[in-house]
Symmetry: C2
Subunit: 385 residues, 2 copies
């Protein structure tokens, strides 16, 4: 009997060649390519294809994939009508799980029924991945309008993935500077080994469920406050602090109380999270781009970051990816409760890469349990209880 | 470093006091009560409360729970309208995942944010469990009418859980004999330790996601053909055999070809699955009840069962729960693609019991991986690929 470890920490649940974390050196690599290189040279479309296929695509392969993504931006009007029946007060992540699950009804069943390499290489697996990745930002931005009582903005095929996302969100062609911020953030959030949502995708996928049900399960898992919800809480925290001048005292009080500070530290990294380093640079560029005209919230974030670097960096605790993405999204005018949706849009590429990998050598997940309950006992009639 | 085991087979993923399987002796017990005792003396409502709370309820506690279940049968009209936008050709399990996820939008967020015993004991946890268990059969039966173009039948509060299920399915007050078959089947399917869908519920629940997202993730996982879909395939198999006279020759051919025979054997049991024994008795009673007027499909099933018992029982392989439930549901006129939905209705009690248990001592699931991919490599410009 193997020993029980809570949360399966340190227990290998899969063999994977998709991504790797070197927590000592602060390196996250997708298919061997360090995230810093991808953030500097790649775009989300290419990174998604890299994750799915395992290699940087040729110019032709990337063009084909990009065209497939653009063509699959249209969603059926049933989806729009369905959204109109959902309560505007619901959380966007619940909507996203609902909408992705419903998309699966239009493509019922799975063509991959053997769980072998041949199955993972089916056109079906690639085509469904394209459909889902392409539609995620469309669904997210449609809902932003529908929940406010407006018709959604139709997607455009002449825009890149990130351009179209911001266009559908605002109805205006976005400034390239903000497109770059979003695209970099999507690259950085696309994959991160076996976190809880990716693990849920593996478990659901291991029964050979359809990719829509796999991604819906992962979205549900990501929605939890212990996983994807942290960057939303960073903004709440900054509002709680109030003004930049109060940041240092607020931090000292929290540290004295041993309270949780959102957006700080990461279990996997002993040094600074490489994704945070990249986003920090974007934050600095944004200050510069705005010529110093930044919001009070952003100023508070800068002040808190400085205080944290002074107090916590010596302990190896740094602002993490949630800290910077939360601030950047807020400064771009994205509603706070949509932050996790953007995370989901990006991570869908990683989830589907893991789904494909799981299919290539599948075995259903059925761990065991340590039974701690009652031994066999006879049924007691209700009058005798 | 722990050794990698595919599918985490034999690796304990949780400590649980909900159910236990003794595969050598063929005993499945919920909270210590053997399933045969529960099938003989309990009903689904009591069994669900037993699973959730860990003890057989007093008469008063059972009455309160039963009333709560009855009161929560109404669903908001938005859910009905949403269903009308879903494609009638979609699989009912995809619809079920969609509808349960959407229900979560009406109760956003989770009140359980500590992952401790106090959190599991919140009224919130009990109340959400009631709402979900009560609405599962309502959603399933509503969809059966909506997908056929008809208005759903309104639930009735004067009927038991299983009575109302069959009433909403057919529009007629069901014969007590069939209510008993369904109720027994629900008891037998309510829980089965850490199978893939229950494990998915644990993983999703471990991020403190809402119970709607937890159950939606479990539904997606159950939908896979390697998990919940087997009883549907039993019926397909019987149609393939065609007539009772052909059953023995068909079986011998399949055995010679070493082909998969649906509804036979179970990984956990060395002897006959105790649930199958109970359903087999119900099948015999149904033949008697019908005075021998059974369908050709049922006759084929009886002939195949006899052939299997002759050829396979010596190897410790017996018809399993899926075999008998598939035949019984088919004979009750339930559409084949709704079989897994009935499984989901029953298993929701088990999923929510595990959700509650996970919350009582939570740790996020984040296993590790064996990385088998490329080492660090520099980004290659697109022109050089």
């Amino acid at each position: 009997m193997n020993e029980y470890v809570a949360g399966l920490e340190g227990i290998p649940a899969t063999q994977s060649n998709i991504s790797d974390i070197d927590g000592e050196r602060g390196i996250l690599a997708y298919r061997g390519y360090p995230i810093a290189e991808l953030a500097a040279h790649s775009n989300f479309e290419e990174t998604a294809l890299l994750l799915l296929d395992g290699r940087l695509p040729t110019a032709h392969a990337l063009q084909v994939f990009d065209e497939q993504l653009r063509k699959n931006r249209m969603v059926k009007y049933n989806i729009r009508e369905m959204m109109k029946s959902l309560p505007p007060t619901g959380h966007p992540m619940d909507m996203l799980q609902t909408a992705v699950a419903s998309l699966g009804m239009f493509y019922p069943g799975s063509e991959c029924l053997t769980g072998t390499q041949a199955c993972a290489e089916l056109d079906y697996v690639h085509n469904m991945s394209v459909k889902i990745i392409a539609r995620m930002p469309v669904i997210v931005t449609m809902w932003e309008h529908i929940r406010n009582g407006y018709d959604p903005i139709s997607p455009r095929t002449d825009l890149s993935f990130s351009e179209n996302f911001l266009y559908m969100l605002t109805g205006e062609e976005p400034e390239p500077f903000y497109v770059d911020i979003l695209d970099t953030s999507l690259i950085l959030h696309a994959e991160h080994t076996i976190n809880a949502s990716t693990f849920a995708a593996l478990v659901t996928g291991s029964t050979l469920a359809s990719p829509y049900q796999v991604v819906a399960a992962a979205i549900g898992t990501l929605s939890g406050p212990l996983h994807g919800g942290a960057n939303e809480r960073v903004v709440d925290m900054l509002h709680e602090i109030g003004t930049p001048a109060k940041a240092r005292a607020w931090l000292d009080k929290k540290l004295a109380d041993k309270a949780k500070i959102w957006g700080m530290g990461h279990r996997e990294y002993k040094v600074k999270d490489p994704r945070a380093t990249i986003l920090q640079t974007l934050m600095e560029k944004l200050v510069e781009y705005r010529g110093g005209r930044i919001s009070p919230l952003f100023e508070t974030a800068v002040a808190l970051e400085a205080a944290c670097n002074e107090r916590l960096a010596v302990k190896g605790v740094y602002p993490n990816v949630d800290y910077y993405s939360g601030i950047l999204y807020a400064e771009m005018g994205i509603p706070v409760d949509q932050f996790t949706s953007i995370f989901a849009v990006a991570r869908t590429a990683g989830w589907l890469a893991h789904w494909k990998e799981q299919l290539s050598d599948n075995r259903i997940f059925r761990p065991t349990q340590v039974y701690t309950g009652e031994g066999a006992r006879p049924y007691t009639p209700i009058a005798q209880r």
